[in-house]
Amino acid sequence: MSERQPEMHERRILGTELLWAFGVGVLIAATLSMIVFTALTMGINPPSNVERVDPKMLHLSGEFAEHNLGTSVAADGSVTARVIATQFMFVPRCIAVPQGRPVTLRFAAPDVIHGILITGTNVNTMVVPGFVAQVHTQFTRSGDLLMPCHEYCGLGHSEMWATVQVLPEGAFQPDREGRVSCAQR
């Protein structure tokens, strides 16, 4: 074997690897472009509301005090649901939301880390004490959905869930104060 042959072989091997790496680069670029494209055109982001709130004072005043929890419709028609995640329940335990309208879900925890997802939707966020977790979404189908706590929060974690009642436009009727509660079934 001559001196130069292995060098050339090695160079060919590296050339092939480089070609493969280029293909890998194209694939990464493709998947990232998808992410960037949907972020730019549809405003899709992970829930990242960096809004500080004192978990020790939540129950005293402000939007996460017991009486202000639940769904409310503001004067401009925007729908906001405020939910407390605490050991080991959500307050309120049933959340009414309209179908096909923008909804803002706001969560806070007074004690430990919780998290929520709503089955069959992309609604998903951690609820970290010290911050208001917030998800903007639209519910596409009506019906009852499950909203469990999906982060270990203590020994009662398994029994911590709420129901999300997605109401068709006609059934979503705010009362005089703009509050909407779940329909009794």
Binding site: E10, E17, W20, I28, T31, I113, S158
Partner: protein, 538 residues
């Protein structure tokens, strides 16, 4: 040399003893949360078990296996005595002491916070201190690996460090970087809180520090499998490594990109802006590069072996491979699981798309498939490969070894495919018992039972694995010495310093970490988030 063999075996036996116990617990957990196990086991027992399972699998199995394997590689690949053997034994006993402390606190119900902690829930301080001792033991190992490589370099100036050792040291360097996050979290936040020295914890900061560790730790666990891919599999298959340079580059890329990406575990967290999250998502995309390079390089190496054995045509070489050898079989099965797990991982890292699966069974399926599947099956293959070298005995038959590997593969697939599906339906994680009376959850029942069957197959495989090792120890057959490490098609005569050490890469890791984690951590110093009161589980 007897000492080094005992050192390696001691580490491996601790690792696999923990593994066996954790397998039993895992199967029990699957049973109690299935429709078949309703009303069996209390949440206290369940979360105690989950904590033990996680600690045993993620901290004990991995750390002890990696340390033992590292000592083995340092002695065999460098062909020189291990420096600081007494230190190695000291580190071993320190880590054992740590494990005992953790086990005692877990078993007495004082540490049911799972292996990922979740402050402001805090366990007994001795639980955390035990884990810190394990980490300190592993730091000693890191230093010994670095010392061994430097000593070899001094004795062999200008020559490339053997790939197996280069990779082991890459892992050691990465591990030193990795453990900084969790060490700061434990030493400055969680342990003082557990002792009652402080009453509150900045939860956002704690989660951010833990995320620093959380992704790179997975690569710490994974690198031994990749060491086997690059340095053992080509030889076991009867071929050569396609490219040594790519091997070096792969381990360097793991070092560089496994660290500044941990925030993809916090994509759904409210304490970081989406801009900082996006930066780490982009970097996460690049941590797939070393794996994708490996898939190609190792498949090409196997193709060399297959063709040398007479395989022809585009795919004929696949059938020509010696699948009867455990190392080759394990690699094939590992790659299949890596494919499925990789698919899950692509979706996990998908910025917005993470919302579809975060904290569902999808994620549980993903890391069981990637770590429990494609990595642990290579732990088995490594153990099978080097056990005869450590004991001098040979296996009575390879049949039981192959059966064990197949059972592991089948069990893992049967368990995790339903989990992926359930995760997409919204089945959430870390639950002691489901309410199967709920109409949505009732539909999940059959899938849960299928996954339980997979779990039982895994348990059978675990038992067979330990049985195979016992059979070897008892076997009368004497091991025939055979070379272990593969040569490259073109073994390197010289490599640039960048591919023979880690100076340049440490600088780049520093730059990446400053940008990726600098602001996310600094924001807690600039405007501390309101702290949460400590909740003690002890």
């Amino acid at each position: 040399m007897r000492n080094v063999e005992r050192l390696c075996l001691a580490h491996f036996w601790v690792a696999f003893a923990a593994f066996l116990v954790a397998s039993l617990l895992g199967a029990w957990q699957m049973w109690v949360r299935s429709p078949l196990g309703a009303n069996i086991g209390t949440p206290s027992q369940y979360f105690l078990s989950v904590t033990a399972h996680g600690v045993a699998m993620a901290y004990v199995l991995t750390t002890f296996f990696i340390m033992g394997f590292g000592y083995f590689v340092a002695v065999t690949a460098l062909a020189r005595p291990l420096p600081g053997k007494a230190w190695a034994w000291g580190a071993f006993w320190l880590a054992i002491a740590g494990v005992v402390m953790a086990v005692v606190t877990i078993l007495t119900g004082q540490a049911s916070v799972l292996f990922t902690f979740y402050p402001p829930l805090t366990a007994s301080p001795w639980f955390y201190i035990g884990l810190v001792l394990v980490v300190i033991g592993s730091w000693v190992w890191c230093v010994l690996m670095l010392v061994a490589m430097q000593a070899w370099k001094r004795e062999n100036p200008g020559r490339p460090v053997p790939l197996a050792m280069f990779a082991t040291v890459a892992n050691a360097v990465m591990w030193l970087w990795t453990t900084v996050g969790v060490a700061v979290e434990l030493l400055f936040q969680v342990i003082p809180a557990a002792f009652g020295l402080i009453q509150t914890i900045d939860v956002g900061l704690a989660r951010t520090l833990f995320s620093w560790t959380l992704h790179a730790i997975v690569y710490f666990w994974l690198i031994p499998a990749y060491i086997a891919f690059y340095t053992m599999v080509p030889r076991a298959a009867g071929g050569r490594l396609y490219s040594d340079t790519l091997g070096r580059l792969t381990f360097i890329l793991f070092l560089v990109y496994s660290l500044p990406v941990g925030m993809h575990h916090l994509l759904m967290d409210p304490e970081h802006g989406n801009g900082t999250k996006f930066i780490q998502v982009l970097l996460t995309a690049f941590v797939s590069v070393p794996t994708l390079l490996t898939i190609f390089t190792i498949t090409a190496s196997l193709e060399i072996a297959g063709r040398l054995r007479g395989g022809r045509g585009l795919f004929g070489w696949i059938a020509a491979l010696p699948w009867e050898r455990p190392m080759v079989l394990a690699t094939g099965l590992s790659f299949v699981m890596l494919g499925f797990g990789g698919f899950g991982g692509l979706i996990n890292m998908g910025y917005g798309m993470n919302a579809m699966v975060h904290n569902t069974s999808w994620v549980t399926a993903h890391f069981h498939l990637i770590f429990g599947g494609s990595v642990v099956i290579m732990y088995f293959a490594i153990a099978y490969e080097i056990w005869p070298r450590l004991t001098g005995h040979e296996y009575p038959s390879l049949k039981a070894l192959r059966l064990q590997l197949w059972l592991w593969f089948i069990g893992m697939m049967v368990m995790t495919v339903p989990w992926h599906w359930l995760g997409l339906q919204g089945q959430w994680r870390r639950v002691a018992n489901f309410n199967y009376a709920d109409p949505i959850i009732a539909g999940w029942g059959p899938w849960v039972i299928v996954s339980l069957a997979g779990g039982l197959v895994l348990l059978a495989s675990s038992l067979l694995f330990i049985g195979n090792l016992f059979a070897l120890h008892r076997s009368a057959a004497i091991a025939v010495a055979r070379p272990l490490y593969a040569l490259a098609v073109h073994p390197p005569q010289r490599v640039p310093a960048a591919l023979n050490g880690f100076g340049l890469w440490n600088v780049l890791v520093l730059v990446l970490m400053l940008v990726a984690y600098g602001w996310p951590i600094a924001q807690f110093a600039i405007e501390p988030s309101p702290a949460a009161i400590v909740h003690r589980v002890q």
